[in-house]
Subunit: 311 residues, 2 copies
């Protein structure tokens, strides 16, 4: 990001202390947090100051955690620079870092005082990043249905979304989160596609080229949609619409190699299980998601169906 | 604490995973936090679990930070075992650890789901701990005035407070904090005696026997009361009452050796300064505290007066 936008960032540097950090999921560690706390200490950041974080979802996750725990919380602003961060990661007040191979095990609920999303940043993203980001836009369209669902189906995922789509996709998350800031209930619909998506994201780490988050979620959305169809919720026409859209965007990706034993272990590590049962957001129709108890065997059947689909 | 209450703690151990940690201000570090996060990970603590912290203020400060940042917050219970923790530290939702020689620079605002205060724990405290804890009781009595002020003046600080006094002293903090959970305004009255108290606590660290927090605050309360008298707020009779009480409890302690340069540096490190000015809670009368801007020279004069008082 810094390499691509150096002149802009260096302009900011003239007016304020500025630090650059290597982005990506691998940065979400305690040593990086410690380094950022140290910077806030050196700059003598007080509660009346504001800290601005510019970057992708990982940068915002770490930055929000650092700011929300510095002097028990200093105000911070998010400037998301990736598609996935603009429509998803920057919104919702979840901060976090990884710990002991567990994702976001350490974190806080803390809201930025402002989010500044600039579409121009998306123009310099790699094509794979744009396509992956679209998957969360698609997920939001599945949740809200209506005009956004029709719009997204008609769009080409190799292009940067229009400002109108960015706004609507961000608004879906914004409105759901406002109803449930600390993820007690309603907010769980946002995990659509993520129950299996997280498993594939995790299992793909041993591949030469691991899945992006969006790629893994695309697979999860399709598999969980089939599950919904099997349970009698989703109409076959809607399942077909989704599968064909994912296929046409080249997101119907082959699964990483796995054993069912490892698959199950990865699935059950997910922190969203509740008293041993799996509660999964189920897409019943565009605009309709419900949380349903699901047995592990049903999820396995969905994976088997997907494997056949790919043949 | 564990050494004194081993049979009780070992009884708990039979029913639940239990970990003991060495207490005291020196434990409020990132490595200890890391160790506790690791335990929560090993025990697979989820959001529906509850973590209980038993100990003095430092244990609760660290524990609350660990629990409030684990999976973005798991419920926790405080069992304060010192006088100062029962009437002060356990209440108010401030968690924190020290960083780079700065007190509580890293922390959160997070409330325990319950506070269980058992007076029996206080019976095994060292005499110095009891007397130090009384200073925060006294501070709360100064803030609220009325019957509690009269009660506290009449009590002997070598004895454990009655349950009635414990309850009333805790209630003072509880009610103020409820009006201002994130320390924006009203809550600042609780810093009575702490502007100078913190300075002495910090400067005394180079002594063979540093001040306890309560001892440092006792000195701060007296000096700041004189300042209030000088500014025309506090009646001389109230100043005398306070000085004589502190003196009779052997808390009119000699100051640590210091240079004014170091004194000033320590004073200005305090995170409660606002845009360069010092806002100090001023005791105008029992039951009346106001936040006033104060010049450094006025604080210096209070210190000089105190030195003469000791001669």
């Amino acid at each position: 990001m810094y390499a691509l936008w150096k002149p802009l960032i260096d302009t900011l540097r003239a007016g304020t202390p500025l630090l650059t950090v290597e982005g990506g999921e691998a940065m979400k560690t305690l040593p990086v947090v410690r380094r950022l706390w140290k910077k806030l200490w050196q700059y003598e950041v007080e509660r009346q100051d504001v800290v601005v974080f510019i970057g992708g979802g990982s940068m915002l996750d770490v930055g929000g955690f650092v700011a929300s725990t510095w002097k028990r919380g200093v105000p911070f602003v998010y400037v998301p620079t990736t598609l996935i961060a603009q429509v998803d990661a920057a919104i919702g007040g979840k901060t976090g870092i990884n710990f002991k191979a567990g994702k976001n095990l350490i974190g806080t609920f803390a809201e930025p005082v402002a989010i500044w999303a600039y579409r121009g940043f998306l123009e310099t993203l790699p094509a794979r990043e744009v396509r992956s980001g679209w998957v969360e836009v698609l997920k939001h369209a599945m949740i809200v249905g209506g005009a956004l669902w029709e719009l997204v189906l008609a769009r080409d995922f190799t292009q940067v979304p229009s400002l109108a789509i960015l706004e609507q996709a961000a608004a879906v998350k914004w409105e759901i989160v406002a109803q449930d800031p600390t993820e007690k209930d309603r907010r769980r619909v946002l995990n659509l596609g993520h129950t299996l998506g997280h498993v594939w994201e995790s299992l793909s780490l041993s591949q030469a080229i691991p899945f992006t988050h969006g790629e893994a979620v695309a697979v999860g959305l399709v598999q969980e949609a089939w599950l919904s169809y099997q349970k009698g919720y989703l109409a076959p026409a809607h399942l077909d619409q989704l599968v064909e859209k994912i296929r046409s965007e080249k997101l119907l990706l082959p699964l990483p190699s796995f054993t069912w034993e490892r698959w199950l272990k990865t699935l059950l590590q997910d922190k969203k299980r509740k008293a041993g049962r799996l509660y999964v957001p189920i897409w019943a129709a565009p605009g309709e998601v419900r949380i349903e108890p699901v047995r592990v065997q049903e999820l396995q059947a969905a994976v088997r169906w997907y494997k056949k689909l790919l043949r």
